[in-house]
Amino acid sequence: MRNTQVAEWILSLVTSPERAASTVGDLMESASTRAGFWLGVLRTALSLLWGEFAAEPATMMGLAFRGALLETVILVAFVICAAFVGGFLGGVLYLTGSASEPNPAIRTVGWILAYATAGLLVPFQIGRWLARRAPGRELAPVVALTVLQSAITLALGLLGPVDVLQIILGVTAYQVFQIPVFVGAALIRRQRLSR
């Protein structure tokens, strides 16, 4: 994939493919250096992303709040279910005498499944859920969710003894956790645009 095609792909996440192509053409025409071109691509993508959120901030924050609530409920339910299943299987193995302690391999697989579900699958599905409720502005609720969760992290960080580094790390970590949410929403957007 050529550089300009990568730029077009990035912009097509936040606008229609035709507009993305035209914008890349504009940036090719106006940017005098390679760095200037890429800076233009990234700034334009971020501006368009923020612009979607800024067009209906209250609606998007409401949607993000519902998304965050749903995500919390699903994760709590998942933890309860995982604890129940884990406890049940451990109990069965213990009672049947086939294992006095959990098998390390099974334990590792269990943890991987738990992390994959909690860290990837649930956020990915939340991204899809949010995007379906914001047709035409699929990525805006993800921006709102990022703002909301960053604000919650910041508020929680300020409750105890203030450790600026820890607060910055916490807020940054949330941006990483948003990647599966963003991917889920972007897929729904691309599906809509390809119809």
């Binding site: 035209s22 890349v24 504009d26 090719m28 233009g40 334009t44 501006s47």
Partner: protein, 111 residues
């Protein structure tokens, strides 16, 4: 009908730049016109967001031109101001004119 509150400063500047450029108004020329005529240097991102917003409000229309080899075969997106856009920007400018009446500002000529 858009009122003054719905037309921001950059929106008015973009509308006026499109009107000045006529048939040759696309992203690059609009930004160059704004830089040449005002003291502002809007980022490409801010310009595209404003253009999209104006189109959503029905104040501008856009259409794609033919692909050009200089741009790697990518078409230009040409903009034109709709009748609603002309009325919106004229109304905003009339408001400015009324506010300016009776004031003497350095370098500002009054109609």
């Amino acid at each position: 009908m858009p009122d003054l509150q719905t037309l921001g400063d950059l929106e008015q500047i973009v509308l006026l730049a499109i009107l000045r450029l006529g048939d040759n108004a696309y992203g690059v020329t609009i930004r160059e016109e704004i830089i040449a005529r005002t003291e502002r240097q809007p980022s490409p991102g801010a310009l595209y967001v404003t253009l999209d917003r104006l189109e959503e409000k029905g104040l501008v229309r856009s259409q794609f031109g033919d692909p050009t080899p200089q741009r790697g075969g990518r078409a230009k997106r040409f903009f034109s101001v709709s009748a609603k856009g002309v009325e919106g920007v004229a109304r905003s400018q009339r408001s400015y004119q009324r506010l300016l009446q009776g004031l003497k500002l350095p370098g500002v000529a009054h109609a």
